[in-house]
Symmetry: C2
Subunit: 367 residues, 2 copies
């Protein structure tokens, strides 16, 4: 991660609201600092929602689903058909993310960005199919550059619509059998970490499957990097554009349609000054890609949980993000993000609603 | 901690409901294990609430407040008057725990177990004053054995009343200037850890205050242990009773009225087969004392958060408990426990409401 230049047209957090929030925290009836990260959260949202006393009254979840050609390589514990079957489960509110969205009164929209097969979509699932699953990234580029643009555009449109509805926090979730393989490729590509550090068991492959998955990732990385030589050379002399072009090349070769939609949602949300709450492993891969394409996206990202998939920590470290909780989750769908929403809302409610020392007639610290 | 014998009259968790819950988790539409600790939580509550699909529809918070004679030793960053002032803040719903209780729709009751001074209690605060603050534990026993019994009894009564109202989960919180000094004494006494490992800055004493606090704790421990020689010797030949008598001796010498009320709530809750959600440092000291008095209390305890007060981890380790979150909080009042309630409720909602593979027509894992 060395792409940290801010684009001129990206909004930046509001430091005056943040300072006002920080001052307020010192006046609330508690020892200074005693609410720990909840105090930081209040100040973080103050800067992003441009208010000394921010509130999240509307948050939305988009679950992007797509298939992965690399599933034919035996890298997942589940058959590819599960992606389409889970669309039905989402539509019937039977999945984990449905339960969590309902508890937090979040609007949830399930978007098919490219599930394989041509079955009719379940009622309520949005059709934004770019193509019926990516190509096999072991053998060839997963997407063309045009397909990547289309998939990014799906997420961008979703973010813009949410902004129109007045959202204050966005969550992107994923569904796609074999997508931890694509995510591992992207995390390696964008952090220079090695496959041994990044490839995990995903939904639960056995030792043989894990070894196969590592080989697939190593081979795909070598293929995509070799193919990048030409593209990068053409951009010599234009460092920013060259970096973005190289990132797009790797993203198209190694990514997934749903991962691209997530990245598009992240960048477009940032462009509109709306923070995003990251989920787990797939989300972190999308976040890395988004920051490579648009470095100004980073200040709008908050990490919710640390996934049990070991490589997640590699991605979080590269992003410089420290997640709120570590509960051994590794489900995706946006579930880790949705689970931490009440902690964030509690932090903001404490910040808004606690009495100050002056209001309560309570003495402050003596030392 | 070696007092692990279960009393014959303590209820034990229901392993059949737990096994049924575990089987259900394998059928829900997610990779097995992918909800991490949320799955464990569902099974833990299944065993305690005696249902394969448990639900927490009623949880209650008791905040126990009392003063500490040892405050005269300059061990806190806040003046003793703050304990009484905070009663007013609780009564006016201005404290952190009020905000969190309101978010989770928890009944909250504030109980004065022994705040110093004779000011009239704010409306809505329950009067259970055992005495106007403990004696200075640096110089003498904080409580007599009778006072300890009375303070334990306050918590026991509160727990019984909550059980009558149909509670499924109980939280005890604390308020008492200088109570981290008493808690540090208890944690050292019950774990044999050294004051350097257990004494922290509490609400925020400076380096001089911290050194003083360590000296006070060391001296108080030596005093209480020396005084215990005679009492323990009398009990020789009756190991269980002797251990309980020794624990009571240390608790009376080194504890606090609110800490005893918390311990009483914990043991009585367990006797009624109702789980408790521990808070932070003070709560852990009370939990250790409760388990020393009544080992069968332990299976009913769940740790919510890891406090920023370093010695909290010593106490949690002795209890064998691993908290759900670590957010750098160190406020007390029950705030850490209340903050994690939505995570627990989410775990149970996922367990109850997610579709099974069969219901959703989704294929399970292939490996």
């Amino acid at each position: 991660m060395n792409a940290r230049l801010n684009s001129l047209d990206m909004p930046v957090p509001d430091t005056r609201s943040e300072a006002a929030a920080r001052a307020r925290q010192q006046q609330l009836t508690k020892p200074p600092g005693s609410l720990g990260r909840l105090e930081e959260l209040a100040c973080w949202f103050a800067a992003r929602l441009r208010s000394p006393t921010p509130q999240i009254s509307r948050s939305e979840i988009f679950v992007f689903a797509a298939d992965h050609g690399v599933a034919v390589r035996g890298v997942s514990a589940f058959p590819q058909s599960v992606t389409a079957q889970m669309l039905g489960n989402f539509a019937n509110s039977g999945a984990a993310i449905n339960v969590l969205a309902s508890l937090e009164d979040c609007r949830i929209e399930v978007v098919d960005v490219g599930v394989a097969g041509d079955a009719e979509l379940p009622r309520g699932v949005r059709n934004e199919r770019v193509r019926p699953g990516t190509r096999d990234l072991f053998a060839e580029a997963a997407m063309t550059d045009d397909e990547l643009t289309s998939a990014l555009g799906v997420g961008e449109r979703c973010a813009r619509e949410a902004v129109q509805r007045g959202v204050q926090l966005l969550i992107a979730g994923d569904m796609g059998i074999a997508n931890t393989t694509a995510a591992a490729c992207l995390i390696c590509a964008f952090t220079d970490a090695l496959p041994e550090q990044v490839v995990g068991r995903g939904t639960g492959v056995d030792d043989v499957g894990l070894a196969r998955k590592r080989e697939v990732v190593s081979a795909a990385l070598a293929r995509a990097r070799a193919a990048a030589g030409g593209a990068q050379a053409q951009e010599a002399g234009l460092p920013q554009t060259g970096r973005v072009a190289a990132a797009r090349h790797l993203f198209a070769h190694l990514g997934g349609l749903e991962i691209a939609a997530m990245a598009g949602l992240y960048t477009e949300s940032a462009r509109n000054g709306i923070p995003v709450l990251l989920d787990g492993y797939i989300s972190a891969a999308a976040a890395l890609a988004a920051v490579m394409l648009e470095p100004g996206t980073l200040p709008w990202m908050l990490a919710s949980h640390r996934s049990a998939e070991g490589g997640h920590s590699v991605a979080l470290r590269a992003l410089g993000l420290d997640p709120l909780v570590d509960l051994g989750m590794r489900l995706g769908e946006g579930s880790g993000a949705a689970l931490t929403l009440p902690i964030i809302k509690a932090a903001l409610a404490l910040h808004r609603n606690m009495a100050t020392f002056a209001q309560a007639g309570v003495d402050g610290a003596t030392s």
